[in-house]
Amino acid sequence: MAEVEETIKRIQAHKGVIGIIVVNSEGIPIRTTLDNSTTVQYSGLIHLLTMKARSTVRDIDPQNDLTFLRLRSKRHEIMVAPDKEYLLIVIQNSTD
């Protein structure tokens, strides 16, 4: 439990990281460093996107699997690491 906390803190300490969300396989947020409404929005939308991305990768090659998803926008970069049961989402500011 402590290691989990510690790792989350370590990621949070990186420059520009705005927030971290851990989501379960159904899209329900488990752990977050942002406020509730933002968390819920992010987890719902990104969960669907990740599922889609994963199914895309597997459709092309069933032996393949999605390991990491990076979504860069003008202001932020959203990074997602999918797993069998969970999903870790990190939002980072773009450097100015």
């Binding site: 439990m1 290691e3 819920v40 970069e77 990074m79 870790l88």
Partner: protein, 858 residues
């Protein structure tokens, strides 16, 4: 119809009837018989009679026999105008022919006649369509009967009948079968005839025949199906959906977090994240190289255009020739209008000598417009030479100027504002005026209106020396009587701060003082002609606040030449918006000064400012008065910091428009760049130049660029990001000393810089692209530069301090070490002993190794 004679058909004989005969039988050509109606039936009896009468000469004589033999009563004679059969008539000799000719011909004739009729009628007028029902005609067999007959199936023999009978009682009897050989011999034994029939197979030709053609027919009929459907029409009704995201309760969350899978998941995904985050930190992927690429190129391309281009220059032969221009200011709102103040170029002694003369020639501020480089638009008259003036930022019709004798002067040019505005549009006005005067053969220019000052300060309370520095206090705060910045309700500039080498700084208020007992004075008859805006101030104007700055260390006072406030006009983010409901419609001149109670002090406004003095010092002071606890009076606090950095008087002290805490001070042969609160040293002290610097100004668009003017008329452009040891561009603008440089942004494409010199000419130069366009990271570059320099200063100061303290320590240590020093002989003995010991050691080793040489006798 051809004219050749055709063989007449059977029973038709061509016949010639002379005119006489025609008359007899009444078949005259074209009278009784015509082309259309050529048939004439003549009675046989008539013909016989005629023949009897005229015998041989009768035309019918050649056909006499035929006529006599003619069976019928009437003979047909047909007119043949075309001589088709050789003669002009032809006779039908048989009844058959006659009938034939009549009927079909009548039929034809009927048709022809009708057609001709129709044709004729059509030609004349619209056809009248008559309906002719089709007449039944005889069937004309064309051979289709054969086909039909082929298809009909008919019996070609009578049908055969068979009757088969059997005894009734045999019906239904059980049947017994037995086998029998087909062999005929066996059968004969039994007495039966060979009653078999063998049916061997044989090639039936029928099956070998191949059907080559087969008639078949297909008819395509569209299937018609009827169907119908009815949609259910739903009434639109308001519906709403409210949803809530699913959330786990806290216990569930805790439970999940404890689980092993969660830990594994974190462990496996975190390295991926760290990689990604590190990548992001190493390089900024959002950086748009393409956009930045183009900008750098333009700098190279326009190297040739790097010079300030001469745009216009203004001199007035009458007013500014041989004078020096002491100050320039651009009109804040109207583009293309700027004002210069001209002053006599005399030293103090000369002034005193020529005092009487100077009284005659007026001291003026000329207002120039780009549209007319020869004649100034407006002349502002002053009591004495003006050495500094400024337009009021909020009300550009007010101009405040400081005279050489220390008086503060105000002008109001509201009446002529239209003239200035319209002067931008053209010289039309000027020309019209010229024409009027030119009638008399005079060469006069347009009348330049002269505006007299509308208020001047009281001489006893003004400065005692020339006013060299003048600024309007920005409109977001006011200064109260105790030097405390308070809020400015009306957002107007109403206060002026001036400084002068008489060691004092004064703050003036343009509003009338509290109306206690001075109403009578205001009512006095105005002794000045001109705008009455500041009537209340005229001749009685006293400064609101007067500060004499004591020297920072030691006694004496500073004699300021220039100063620079921290607050900038227009930058009011740190000040709360004033309550607009309390705002009153009042101009600068008439508004009442609000009482001190109502004004809220603003803490966010900084009351500190920088001063440049006559002795080349830069001083950091505040105008907030301190309360002296002992006497109870408010005193001007001592400046917190001062630095003597220039060899000559500081002639310009400027804050950078981009960095509020960076100042440029120009004086003597050097200039310096300062950062506020860095008190140890200047960020940059320039090397001594070859010529005196006489003016300086930051560029308004590029944070790293500033312009300096020298004594020999050069304008130096310094780019701190390019090089700091020499200017990046030196351009000669005039032959005389440059007195003032003020850049201004006229429009997006046109950035101008006004350079004034000592001989009364104002040069307007255009700033080229590379000097006015800031590159993308110039601001950050400059910020980094200042930070680096600040760090350097800190480093050096700390090192200096450390070195100083270390130096003291080192001196102490040396004194302690001295008694331990050994004498030389003792040292020599020690070395001898060591050497002996070494020799013995060597012998010992060699003995052990067994290669000891024979020792020589010691």
């Amino acid at each position: 119809m051809s004219g050749d004679a055709a063989t007449p058909p059977e029973g038709v004989i061509p016949l010639f009837l002379a005119t006489k005969s025609q008359e007899i039988y009444s078949c005259v050509c074209d009278e009784h018989v015509t082309e259309d109606n050529p048939y004439k039936l003549i009675k046989k009896e008539d013909i016989i009679e005629d023949m009897k009468k005229r015998a041989a000469i009768s035309d019918f004589s050649p056909v006499k026999r035929i006529v006599l033999d003619y069976p019928g009563e009437e003979l047909l004679v047909v007119y043949d105008p075309d001589f088709k059969y050789g003669q002009n008539f032809y006779l039908c000799v048989t009844e058959e022919a006659k009938n034939k000719l009549i009927q079909p011909k009548s039929g034809e004739e009927g048709e022809d006649g009708e057609q001709a009729e129709d044709g004729e009628e059509g030609a004349k007028e619209e056809t009248v369509y008559t309906y002719n029902p089709p007449e039944a005609k005889d069937w004309v067999a064309l051979g289709s009967e054969a086909e039909v007959e082929c298809e009909i199936v008919e019996d070609n023999r009578p049908k055969l009948k068979f009757i088969a009978s059997r005894v009734r009682r045999e019906f239904g009897t059980p049947v017994t079968f037995k086998d029998r050989d087909i062999d005929p011999t066996a059968a004969s034994e039994e007495g039966l005839a060979a009653s078999y029939m063998g049916i061997p197979g044989y090639d039936d030709k029928n099956f070998a025949l191949k059907r080559m053609e087969q008639d078949s027919s297909v008819q395509a009929v569209p299937e018609k199906v009827e169907g119908s459907s009815q949609t259910v029409w739903k009434h639109p009704c308001t519906a709403a959906v409210q949803y809530e995201p699913r959330q786990l309760s806290d216990e569930e969350k805790a439970a999940v977090e404890q689980s092993q899978e969660f830990k594994e998941f974190i462990e496996s995904s975190v390295p991926r994240f760290e990689l990604a985050l590190q990548q992001n930190e190493i390089m900024d992927v959002f950086f748009d190289d393409w956009a930045v690429l183009g900008e750098e190129d333009t700098n190279f391309g326009n190297k040739s255009d790097g010079h300030l281009k001469e745009y216009q220059s203004f001199t007035d032969l009458q007013y500014s020739k041989d004078r020096t221009i002491s100050c320039i200011d651009w009109h804040p709102t109207i583009k293309g209008i700027m004002a210069v103040s001209c002053a006599e170029r005399l030293s103090f002694n000369d002034r005193v000598d020529q005092a009487t003369q100077l009284l005659m020639s007026p001291s003026l501020i000329l207002i120039w417009s780009f549209s007319d480089p020869i004649h100034p638009q407006l002349l502002l008259e002053a009591p004495d030479d003006i050495f500094s003036f400024k337009f009021c930022p909020t009300d550009p019709n007010i101009i405040a100027g400081g005279c050489i004798n220390g008086q503060l002067v105000l002008w109001d040019i509201s009446e002529h504002a239209d003239r200035l505005q319209s002067s931008r549009s053209g010289l039309g006005n000027a020309k019209v005026d010229k024409k009027k005067k030119a009638m008399f053969g005079e060469e006069t220019g347009p009348d330049t209106p002269v505006v007299r000052y509308c208020a001047v300060s009281a001489i006893e309370n003004s400065h005692r020396n020339v006013i060299t520095g003048l600024e309007w206090i920005p409109d977001h705060f006011e200064i109260s009587r105790h030097g405390v910045p308070v809020e400015n309700r009306n957002c107007e500039c109403v206060q002026i701060m001036t400084c002068s080498p008489d060691e004092s700084i004064m703050v003036w208020d343009t509003r009338p003082p509290k109306p206690t007992g001075q109403r009578e004075q205001i009512e006095k008859v105005a002794s000045i002609t001109g705008p009455q805006t500041f009537k209340h101030l005229d001749l009685t104007w006293k400064p609101m606040l007067k500060m004499v700055l004591q020297k920072h260390d030691g006694s004496g006072e500073y004699s300021p030449l220039v100063f620079s406030l921290k607050e900038k006009q227009g930058k009011r983010d740190h000040v709360p918006q004033p309550d607009l409901s309390a705002r009153r419609e009042s101009t600068v001149g008439y508004g009442r000064g609000s009482s001190a109670k109502n004004q809220k002090p603003l803490d966010a406004v900084s009351s500190k400012y920088f001063l440049g003095t006559e002795d080349g010092e830069v001083v950091y002071a505040t105008f907030k008065l301190e309360k002296d606890n002992e006497t109870g009076k408010s005193n001007v606090p001592r400046p917190t910091w001062a630095c003597a950095s220039h060899d000559g008087p500081v002639n310009s002290l400027q804050r950078s428009p981009f960095f509020n805490d960076i100042l440029l001070s120009v004086g003597g042969w050097t200039f310096s760049v300062w950062k506020e609160n860095v008190t140890d040293d200047a960020i940059l002290n320039s090397a001594c130049a070859t010529k005196l610097y006489t003016a300086g100004h930051w560029s308004t668009t590029r944070p790293a660029v500033f312009f300096l003017g020298t004594k020999d008329g050069n304008v130096e452009v310094w780019d701190l990001l390019d090089r700091t040891h020499e200017p990046s561009l030196v351009q000669n603008v005039t032959a005389a000393q440059i007195t003032s440089i003020v850049p201004w942004v006229v429009s997006k494409k046109q950035h101008l810089i006004a350079v004034s010199d000592n001989v009364g000419t104002l040069h307007i130069l255009e700033i080229p692209w590379n000097l006015r366009h800031a590159s993308a990271n110039e601001v950050s570059g400059m910020q980094n530069y200042f930070d680096r320099e600040t760090k350097r200063i800190e480093y050096f100061t700390s090192k200096r301090v450390a070195r100083q303290s270390k130096g003291r320590n080192v001196v102490k240590k040396k004194k302690e070490d001295k008694p331990d020093e050994k004498s030389e002989e003792a040292l020599a003995e020690e070395y001898e002993k060591q050497y002996e010991g070494y020799l013995e050691l060597e012998k010992k080793l060699l003995r052990e190794l067994g290669i000891l040489e024979e020792e020589p006798e010691m």
